[in-house]
């Protein structure tokens, strides 16, 4: 019977050691790096300690009673069963505690909602299963994909420190600037969450939500999609790089140059091998999660091998890839003309489809213009 006392007490002690061991076995919420995240953290700790204090009193009385008032000690039970005074007391005291808690919570919430006077605006769009970041003022736009290799996920290779929390193109923001984040989605609901910034906003298709952050400390902060969004919900991390103003400007210039290079490439003609090679890597990055590496499909995701679309008229194939249908996303805005041409060429010739055709970037541009 000592168990009944010792186990919950042990659990409580375990809880109390929260702050001391936080570094090795992370137990507690991160304090984060923004004024909001620090406010949220102290609010969290405040409620936590209030709950602990109530717990000590309530469970304390209970354990004393369980120890003293047991039949085996020969006690006789009392017969009282009503007290309006007691009922009023234990209705009023919790009510007062709650009011005391509501004040800091309200203030904190008002701060979170203050998205005015931002220095920079960034549009975040959730896709199955990646993020797109748009800097409307600079005309820069790119996708951010999971960069953890498949070998690590399927156990063959050792897992690195940032396993499943690393991406190919991170979101880059300048330190010390207030950044307004506009969050939306292209297909299903996602949620953009970075614990160190204490920003969690649902990305809802067809609607734009607002959030903001201002990070002073240069560094990399990681998060994940927080709303179940289908098969690879666990594989669409977020990486935010906070850099100096100078590095931020360099980054924007680089991205602009990259966009210009891609536009120029759209005018080029490629030979079959080049298209096939490029298409294979686009396929692996964008198509294989659903249609699988071997092109045989999975569950509701149809096979590419022998598919009536990939072996039918080119126009319909382009239409499906660029404009999507049902659960199939529209890749027209996600892929450059070169990438689209390459992946269509690849799909029409790989997996035993052997159509022998090739599609050039200019065909994509013309298709998009309705020609």
């Amino acid at each position: 019977m000592r168990w009944i006392v010792s186990l919950p007490c042990g659990l409580l002690l375990f809880l109390l050691s929260l702050s001391t061991h936080a570094s090795e076995w992370q137990l507690n919420m991160t304090e984060g790096v923004t004024s909001i995240s620090k406010e949220v953290y102290s609010l969290h700790m405040l409620i936590f300690w209030i709950c602990c204090a109530i717990g000590v009193v309530v469970f304390g009385v209970m354990f004393v009673s369980m120890f003293l008032h047991r039949k085996s000690r020969g006690v006789k039970s009392a017969n009282f069963h009503e007290s309006t005074v007691l009922e009023i007391i234990w209705t009023t005291i919790p009510f007062i505690i709650l009011i005391a808690m509501a004040f800091p919570a309200t203030k904190n919430l008002i701060d979170i909602y203050d998205t005015e006077d931002a220095d920079i605006e960034i549009l975040i769009t959730g896709y199955q299963w990646k993020w797109r970041y748009d800097y409307p003022a600079d005309g820069v736009s790119y996708f951010s994909n999971l960069s953890t290799p498949l070998e690590q996920i399927y156990k063959n290779a050792a897992k690195n420190q940032h396993y499943l929390l690393e991406v190919d193109n991170a979101l880059v923001i300048p330190a010390g600037k207030k950044v307004r984040l506009l969050v939306t989605a292209a297909d299903v609901i996602h949620s953009w969450w970075v614990p160190d910034l204490a920003v969690k906003r649902d990305a809802i298709p067809g609607f734009i939500n607002e959030a903001w952050t201002k990070v002073d400390k240069i560094g990399t902060y990681r998060g994940q999609c927080a709303e179940l969004c289908g098969k690879d919900h666990g594989f669409m991390p977020i990486e935010v790089k906070v850099v100096s103003q100078q590095d931020y400007e360099l980054f924007i210039q680089e991205k602009k140059k990259l966009a210009a290079d891609i536009a120029e490439a759209a005018n080029q003609q490629f030979d079959f091998d080049e298209l096939y090679r490029r298409g294979e890597s686009v396929y692996q990055q964008h198509c294989a999660t659903c249609h699988q590496l071997d092109g045989k499909g999975l569950g509701i995701f149809p096979a590419i091998a022998g598919s009536p679309i990939a072996t039918g008229p080119v126009k319909e194939h382009l239409n499906r890839v660029l404009n999507g249908a049902g659960a199939m996303p529209a890749f027209g805005e996600q892929l450059s003309p070169v990438e689209s041409a390459a992946v269509v060429t690849f799909q029409r010739n790989a997996f035993g489809n052997n159509m022998g055709e090739l599609v050039q970037p200019i065909d994509i541009v013309e298709f998009k213009q309705g020609r």
């Binding site: 919420m29 008032h69 009510f95 309200t106 909602y113 298709p205 067809g206 607002e210």
Partner: protein, 515 residues
Amino acid sequence: MAHGPAPGIGRWLFTTNHKDIGTMYLWFSFAMFFVGGLFALVIRAELFEPGLQIVEPEFFNQMTTLHGLIMVFGAVMPAFVGLANWMLPLMIGAPDMALPRMNNWSFWILPFAFSMLIGTLFMPGGAPNFGWTFYAPLSTTYAPPSVTVFIFAVHIMGASSIMGAINIIATILNMRAPGMSMMKMPLFVWTWLITAFLLIAVMPVLAGVVTMMLMDIHFGTSFFNAAGGGDPVLFQHVFWFFGHPEVYIMILPAFGVISAIIPTFARKPLFGYSSMVYATASIAFLSFIVWAHHMFTVGMPLAGELIFMYATMLIAVPTGVKVFNWITTMWRGAMTFEAPMLFSIAFVILFTIGGFSGLMLAIAPADFQYHDTYFVVAHFHYVLVPGAIFSITAGVYYWLPKWCGKMYNETLAKTHFWIAFIGLNITFFPMHFSGLAGMPRRIPDYNPLWADWNMISSIGAFLFGAAQVLFLFIVIRTIFSGRPASDQVWESAEGLEWSVASPAPYHTFIKAPEI
């Protein structure tokens, strides 16, 4: 003159006897509890360590979805309806439920609903994979074809629940023995009366939302599709308008069970009976005005966030009253700790811990960090497993001697309790930590940062599963070879159910008892 049960399988198929139907409900929910538990173990096995080992993400999502749906609609709800069927007429001195034929029907459509739901695992495209909350458009435009079967199954479950609720209200309001005034009813009767009204209020809302999904999927409407003028967030509002009262549907009858057991083993009347009734009614009322606290991150306006935050915090008041009343009932009693009492005390402690994390989640700014993490998973498992499951277990040990006339083995039952209690805490307590450390829920693979907590949780889950196998063994052993129980069963149990013989005869209270 009353006649006995019909011979053969016909007894069960055509029965209108509240005890037979109660028994079927309880066995059905026990079976579903094991199916849902099996799915949970698939989830915990996959999460034992980082990396994908046992199942693919697609199947993992089907497991989380079916685990949730089966535990909520298949295990917890039918178990409480089973307890209600068995105990309500016995507690209020009625010969049977008010609407016995509907009672038969409301049970017998359930096996079909759940056969269909589990059958979706074998459909092309797999079972529903969008979580038990089935948020649109993941559950509409992007859903596997089995979603249509899922919608049909939910409709059947809803119809069953509504019929069950109508029956319970009709029974309680019309069939109480003379002299049994409302404020003399046992608290289990009161909590079920209030629960039944909640069911009638919100099950049609669930039916509405799945029908809107059906229209979006097959008939070209755009309730939840912004491109057609709809709104995906509308789904969440309608769903949680059902969903929040639903969680109280799963806990209010538990309050009733605990309020019956603690006084018996403390040998002292329940403290604050009328305040318990009012607290239950207040919780039921508040459950209708707090639904959007599940949606603090969807981008509601500030005023909306504040109103829902304040309303949610208020729930702590009547819930606290209940806990204080139970503890005061124990105070200066003469307690013994048989299995039903152990489960009830664990209920009070662990449900209160779940209440604490609930209060933390109510604080909207902090919820921005907690939302959709394992902290939430820890919270609702702390209120549902020690809440609903432990109270049902306590109720089964408490009333089993009355049902089958045999006494269970106390040593085995206490062993069951301790394994379940330790397993439960090892499973769910570490989830608070992994959640606060940033692990999102519903992911099949995760960063090694959270590996230790997950491994501990997985070990606890298998321990908890083993405890339930022992439970099944104990129940079967009691039915076949338990020693005979007395009519009174427990030294100081009070109420009409203890005035009938053990086992309870097939027909009881053919003549209304004297109160």
